[in-house]
Assembly symmetry: C2
Homo-oligomer: 191 residues x 2
């Protein structure tokens, strides 16, 4: 961030008066450019115990499998965002959305809100950001080909909870990677 | 948003190729300036069934009562953000944080994540953004002097659930105001 969005002046990076951390501040018009974490909304969608996954047609993680998810838009509820992403990425229609996980991922300043839902029908297909869409049975999940660690964590929790027959909402943190080779290593998602 | 943060050029407002809604796009360097909802994190903090509220020393809603809450910062977990806000606004230390409500507020592009917690001790006092801090018994809540509708909704739900002896996480929407006089009418919070 170099220039002020309001007046076009070059920005300083400094601690504003009364604040406790550096921000991008305009020395000309005084505007402070706050930057805050972004929310991704998505869904684990089931049809007869099989889970809908999408194979990504875009970077990062081109060719890897993910649940339908993407950035929440301004003026959108979290539920509307999750439904929109399911339509955009998988042309899928979701039933009732049940809150399942909130992942807080501080090292990339993101949150992932994951719902559970049933597919309303079996009419789904690849949207523009997907190469293909498919339902996976519990023993078919492509664990080594998942797009992101948060997808891996969501599906692991979901399958464990489904086997136990007990779902509950929880907040979990995805810490920075330690450098070892974990499945679905790319942290960032594109829009 | 007038100027590109990357190169300082005047921005266009147009639908980027492959997108479905207008964004601020730089015709010189091509940068797309996405804007997304912001997350506020806060806490309903109790001490022996009394609830900690802060009277705001800043606009909007100067002089009105709120729970400790504020914008989540980059590189911060949601729990760390809620603890930081309790320290900053009420010099208060929280025990275990239990997820309680996520309010989605599309007309101001905000979300509020509210935790429940016990105060670790009775050492609390007004921080820089508060005129005073106080514990309120159930029949003392200043309903007509609350800062925001989301605070009103959080406390109403909390007191009802506490009386019923059953808390559970839920996602709720705060719709736009209909113009009638509801307590705590200002929607926006300042930083």
């Amino acid at each position: 961030m170099n220039y002020c969005t309001h007046c076009g002046h070059l920005l300083n990076y400094e601690i504003p008066h009364g604040d406790d951390r550096p921000r991008h501040v305009c020395p000309s018009c005084g505007m402070i450019h706050y930057q805050n974490p972004k929310m991704v909304v998505g869904c684990i969608a089931e049809s007869e115990n099989r889970i809908l996954l999408c194979r990504r047609s875009i970077d990062p993680a081109y060719g890897r499998w993910t649940i339908p998810a993407g950035y929440l838009e301004n003026r959108e509820t979290v539920e509307a965002g999750a439904r929109r992403e399911a339509r955009e990425e998988a042309r899928a229609n979701l039933g009732e959305l049940v809150p399942y996980r909130l992942f807080t991922i501080p090292h990339i300043s993101q949150m992932y809100l994951i719902f559970r839902a049933k597919l309303l029908d079996d009419h789904f297909s690849a949207g523009e950001e997907s190469l293909e869409t498919r339902l996976f049975g519990q023993n078919e999940i492509p664990w080594d080909e998942l797009a992101f660690r948060v997808v891996f964590a969501s599906l692991k929790d979901f399958i464990r909870d489904r086997e136990a027959g007990a779902f509950s909402f929880d907040i979990k943190e995805i810490p920075p990677e330690d450098g070892s080779s974990q499945p679905g290593s790319p942290d960032k998602i594109s829009r």
